[in-house]
Amino acid sequence: MSVQTVLAPQAEKPVRPSFVRRYLPYLLIAPSVIMLLSLIAYPLLFALRSSLYFWNLQIAPQPLTFVGLANYVQALNAFDFRDALVNTLVLSVTGTAIEFAFGLAIALLLLKALPGMNVVRALLILPTTIAPIVVGFLFRYLYDPGGGLITWLLRVFGAPVPPMGLLGSPTTALAAVLFADVWQWTPFFAIVLYASLLSVPDEIIEAARLDRASPLTMLIRIKLPLIRRTAVIIAMLRFMQLFNTFDTVLVLTRGGPGTSTRTLGYSLYEQGLINFNIGLVSAMTWITVLIVNIIVALYVSFAFRNEEW
């Protein structure tokens, strides 16, 4: 197993590039780009236009009046949208950090290549394979205030469980949603970090050991810097997936109680597919798309800045 920069071997330049040869690569790429552009351009333009109108499908099948930027103002002033923004950021940041830390700990455990640990490694990935919506069902069962396994375990160990259950109380609901995500995605970090730590050359470790580096120094000063690229990429991927959290929340809490677990994704779902407030949800869509674009652009330019293609 090895982690390496993706390096594309370039084809030799032909002596006399014909028309086909010169444009061939673009002809091969074009279908996918055109397909994707046509799939995303329509929704974005549609949302941009709708966001400037008052339009509720429950009232009229067509946009009613041009309202300018009123929908954007309304979205940004609505407390539930602002709460959603805050919750989403809290979920994304803490989720990524916790999953990374636990994942790293498990990866180090797996590196103690004892017989049988292979089985642990192979099975560990299973939570990550499950559809998020199914993870939602699973944890709703585990959190059930009446007979959930987690509720029971907490009571056995003397931890207080709110009478409405972990998902029913505003103080614990967001943490409960977060825990479900941590359960599903910590294995992802563990497996990927394990694979990249495994590829750290033995000579480097040996040299450090001869210098009497402590295990902790070795980890922080030598191993982690060597796998930095992988670490940055997977943290980015996970951060964005967490930012888009929607199906787990739909099953676990529907954003409640109150707005305590409302995420941006769930807000969009509710305004669009429950309230059918197309004008408002289009404005929210554009706000979300802008935020996502800024984060992705910042992160990607950082993560891939030294990359060769």
């Binding site: 919506i133 497996i191 597919l273």
Partner: protein, 276 residues
Amino acid sequence: MLRQKAFFSALTYVGGLLVLAIFIGPIVWFIALAIRPAETAFAMPPQFTFQPGLDAFRHILVNPGTNAPQLVNSLIVAIGAVALNLPFSVPAAYALSRFKVRGKKNIMLWYLGLLMAPPIAFLIPYFILITRVGLQGTYFSMVLVLQTITIPFSVWLMKSFIDEVPSELEEAARVDGARWYTVMWRITLPIVRPGIIVTSMFAFVFAWNNAAFPLVLSSRSTATLPIGTLGYFATSGVTWNFIAAAAVLAMIPPMIIFLVFDRYVVRGLTFGSVKG
């Protein structure tokens, strides 16, 4: 020294068991829910022993078999999404791996950006568009919209596989006078066939696990398994055995694919950007 070593080994095993209990335990507990008698589902304290039975599976698959058609729907949509994506992503991945392309980095990052876009942001426009063109509730609408995930994913993963094929082979064939499409079709693609299979399998998992698009685009008769499972929430808690049985069905194909393609899991989950 030896005793210390044994102690640390034991500690590692305890850690390993703890990891298994935390991450695999809940899955086992959910499978247990699908095969335990309904009245023990919420017993307090939880009942760890029970008489297992397949009643819940019989209910969801045979009589009345609510979820059997949804299982088929899930298969149709996921296989369709993978099949439609290949003619778009394979040539693009080949070109991005083999040729000098201006703006290659930006194109690759654009695909990656799409993979990280919030699907929910596109749901409402899709819902309205698909309804207007009369495709609402069709398999095709879901397969089409899923391309926003499967194409970028496959381009990235496939490119990482094609990058590994030494270009000397192709150059040799070109020296022998073979045209580019002969080279691609007869030499490169056969060599990366395992890569295409791995890519298709992981793309299948992504499509299979997607609930956002079917949630708004499917109809009662084309609903996929996760959406069908959501339907049980309309009724009371008695149906938890059925939820679990349907959810277990939904869990099986991705789990099998991940266990079989164990070697490629790291690569699949990171879109080929990290090679495990």
